[in-house]
């Protein structure tokens, strides 16, 4: 069995306050994914998820932070991304994770879609308190 995952590299903290910074998050996530030896498809999946989540942070909360961490569970390495904001929060988590449901005029695939692109997905939000989304993808 795998050990509980531990963080092996110092976390990288990025601010998300503009479109440019969403691009920077994408680039940093890709660079880390390549470093970890993710397959091309897995790189693309995790960068796409990061792009969706970073945009959510910018569009729904007006900005926030992204954290990139490298994990190790004993036999595989993982990439953990955390997106946190102090925005309005999500009143109905179940609804927010439904395909096609959108509050921001998008396609409504940001949360539900990125959940399918990663191995672990955690959504923590309360109206008025902000939102934290944590996703993890492991090397194959």
């Amino acid at each position: 069995m795998s050990q509980p995952p531990r963080v092996v590299a110092p976390a990288e903290e990025l601010t998300i306050a503009s479109n440019d910074e969403v691009v920077i998050v994408r680039q940093k996530v890709r660079a880390t994914a390549i470093e970890l030896g993710f397959s091309l498809v897995d790189q693309t999946k995790v960068v796409t998820a990061a792009s969706e989540l970073a945009r959510n942070t910018l569009v729904h909360a007006g900005g926030g932070h992204a954290r990139i961490e490298v994990l190790d569970n004993g036999h595989r390495r993982g990439l953990r991304l955390t997106f946190a904001d102090n925005g309005p929060g999500i009143p109905d988590l179940q609804l927010a994770l439904t395909d096609g449901w959108s509050s921001g005029g998008g396609l409504g695939l940001g949360l539900s879609g990125s959940r399918r692109l990663v191995d672990e997905f955690e959504l923590d939000s309360e109206p008025g308190r902000g939102t934290v989304v944590t996703v993890t993808k492991w090397t194959r």
Binding site: V22, R26, K45, T48, R55, G113, R116
Partner: protein, 131 residues
């Protein structure tokens, strides 16, 4: 990021997206293309995404919107050169890009524009070659 250049070759508009576009540049491209279709009376738009490493739901929506707008302006849109990893990710994301026509590369995209209909018209009858 500068504007994405739009090239015109006879009655086709060609856009080759290079590198990582931010959302603003994506929206600008969308508007520019609509303007150019009207200004040139182009019959076809080819968007080459060979160099694009990720297509998220925002870019995906842009592609669909461009195709929809162009169709209303009587132009056909074809997206060419989508990478396998990008296609797999889009499917996983749940984006089907319905209504969008695609081709493997630029050459096949141009060939597709000269053929009518959303599918190459092929009939089941085996009429003699050349008739």
């Amino acid at each position: 990021m500068d504007r994405v250049p739009i090239l015109k070759i006879s009655d086709i508009l060609l856009v080759s997206i290079q590198g990582d576009l931010d959302d603003h540049a994506v929206l600008t491209l969308q508007e520019d293309l609509a303007d150019r279709v009207v200004a040139t009376g182009a019959l076809g738009v080819i968007i080459d995404i060979t160099a694009v490493e990720i297509v998220d739901s925002f870019v995906g929506r842009m592609l669909s919107t461009i195709a929809g707008m162009a169709r209303m302006l009587d132009a056909e849109t074809i997206v060419v050169g989508m990478r396998p990893a990008v296609a797999i990710t889009l499917v996983e994301l749940g984006l089907s890009l319905g209504g969008l026509r695609t081709a493997l590369d630029l050459e096949k995209g141009i060939a597709l524009l000269s053929r009518p209909g959303p599918e190459p018209a092929v009939t089941d009858d085996m009429s003699p070659v050349g008739q």
